[in-house]
């Protein structure tokens, strides 16, 4: 209950932050830009639109997640608002959980808005012919040729995967923010995100006989400790649905469970550190 009160306040605070709103506007603008790729062949336009749209949702979502995640707790400590909160009947774990939940809701709303804009643009693109019949006010032809693309559920799944990936990054940033300064946390969280995004590379390096043994251990440690953000890169089968792929929904479910488990571990570590933190 207390965590939920803090989460609600965190969400209210975040949506009033100018920087996050700027990212959201830039993201919506970027998605709209993809409508201008008319110099390409129609099929290519759709492929580029899907790739570009999902990429933009992730790109701007990444900024939102990291900027928000690194400052959620330190901002309260620096501005001393934490004194009046932790001196109230609020347990420290409730505070950390509340701040994270508020961040997660903010991220969800932002990703949902960006994703919705992307899906609208996608539907407009695949219905170019139907839209052209509107110019001659032929509504019958418009409804007759309008298609609800069968790719929409997959794209929604893709947006959900982007959210899960960024939620995991948010948990990393919140965990680090219980002991690191905002600047240090920015670099730490970014490093973890990069290392976790090239998990297949670190795994290969840890097994390569050409790598010195100490570095192999280091690569293995990075590979096993750092969450694998690459798990959520499902763009390829979504952009090229004609290419046969493994059972995508099952894969996505497994990735979600993996992400939630990692998020819980990161929050537990963050709470344990914060329990002894002097504010």
């Amino acid at each position: 209950m207390t965590a939920w009160v803090i989460a609600r306040n965190t969400f209210g605070e975040a949506i009033r932050k100018k920087i996050l709103n700027v990212f959201l506007i830039l993201a919506l603008g970027s998605v709209l830009i993809s409508l201008t790729f008319t110099f390409l062949e129609f099929r290519q336009q759709v492929v580029i639109l899907k790739s570009f749209g999902l990429g933009m949702v992730q790109f701007w979502g990444l900024f939102i997640a990291i900027i928000m995640g690194i400052s959620l707790i330190p901002a309260d400590i620096e501005q001393r608002t934490i004194y009046t909160i932790l001196s109230k009947p609020v347990k420290r774990y409730e505070y950390v959980l509340g701040r994270f939940l508020g961040g997660a809701i903010t991220l969800a709303v932002n990703i949902a808005l960006m994703g919705a804009a992307f899906l609208v643009v996608f539907l407009l693109k695949v219905n170019t012919r139907a839209l052209s019949s509107l110019a001659s006010l032929d509504f019958g032809a418009f409804w007759g040729s309008w298609v609800w693309s069968g790719e929409i559920p997959g794209l929604i799944g893709g947006i959900a995967m982007v959210y899960m990936k960024l939620l995991l990054l948010l948990a990393v940033a919140v965990c680090f923010s219980t002991f690191a300064t905002v600047t240090v946390n920015f670099f730490l969280s970014s490093a973890v995100f990069i290392a976790g995004s090239i998990s297949s590379v670190t795994e290969a390096m840890s097994k390569s006989p050409n790598t010195p043994i100490v570095l192999r251990w280091l690569y293995a440690a990075v590979h096993y400790l750092v969450p694998n953000f690459g798990n959520y890169d499902v763009q390829n089968p979504l952009i090229h649905p004609e290419v046969p792929a493994a059972d995508l929904p099952l894969y996505m479910c497994k990735a979600v469970f993996y992400g939630l488990a990692y998020t819980i571990i990161l929050l537990v570590v963050g709470v344990l550190v914060f329990e002894r933190k002097e504010v």
Partner: protein, 308 residues
Amino acid sequence: MENAIEIRDLTKSFHSVLTGEDVIAVDHLTLDIHRGEIFGFLGPNGAGKTTTIKMLLGLIFPTSGTATILGYPPGDIEVKRRISYLPESPYFYEHLSGYEVLDFYATLFGIPAAERKKKVDRLLDLVGLSDNKHKRLRHYSKGMLQRIGLAQALINDPDLLFLDEPTSGLDPIAHLDIRDMILRLRDEGRTVFLSSHQLSDVEMVCDRVSILDRGKLMRVGSLSEMLAGKSVEIRAERVRDDVFEKIKAYSTDAFTVDGAIRVRVEQTYVNDTVQMIMQTGGEITAVIPGKRTLEDIFIETVREGTVS
């Protein structure tokens, strides 16, 4: 007398990365604060006052020693329901309005919605912010923020309030209002732990005070006892010069005004001095017990500490 706060040998040291040494912020502090009193917690900047308050609230942890607040250890969730804290120069979520911020704090205490609304409105009225309750805090003046700070400190009807510089940055009227409010809190049976540099305020409202300097407790006691003077001023006329010279030898201050003498002597010399003047034909016009101010005591205590 039952104690609201019991502090035993409380010590806090911080490790300085630059010098590699431990800096002692609070040094074996032992102190009792009685229930229902206004306790003044004084000390120059860096004396360890805020560090002590933060330890008592469970925001930071002591290096050694113990403390109990209303019988509970610092930071205990049960005690947090019964205490409140107004930090020095308080900061609140600026995206909220005065009403919303009080509602937020009230929700943290689990106060039901209907009761919350009444309480928030009453407190806004009490601190004179009813007309500005829908204004965002980022548009509040320093004085208004201080008032909202005091209102949030009253949201749970606390038994014990920690007030850190509650009158800082306030205009004279607001200053007076808050001083009256602190006195009213004591009349309602609450305990107030008041840390302040405004010695005149402390002198007017506190029952007991302590003076902390460089982490050490230098003085503690009842304000009336502390302020009671040890010297007495004697005014007399027609005092012979040789008698005046004798008195000057042991007085702390002696001078003449229009032929009359004014001397300040320790309490133990009062009878002898008066007798001597009267037996030699002098006339006593006034015997005035000396009274010191809290400022005198504060400066004297801190200077003594610096010398020692």
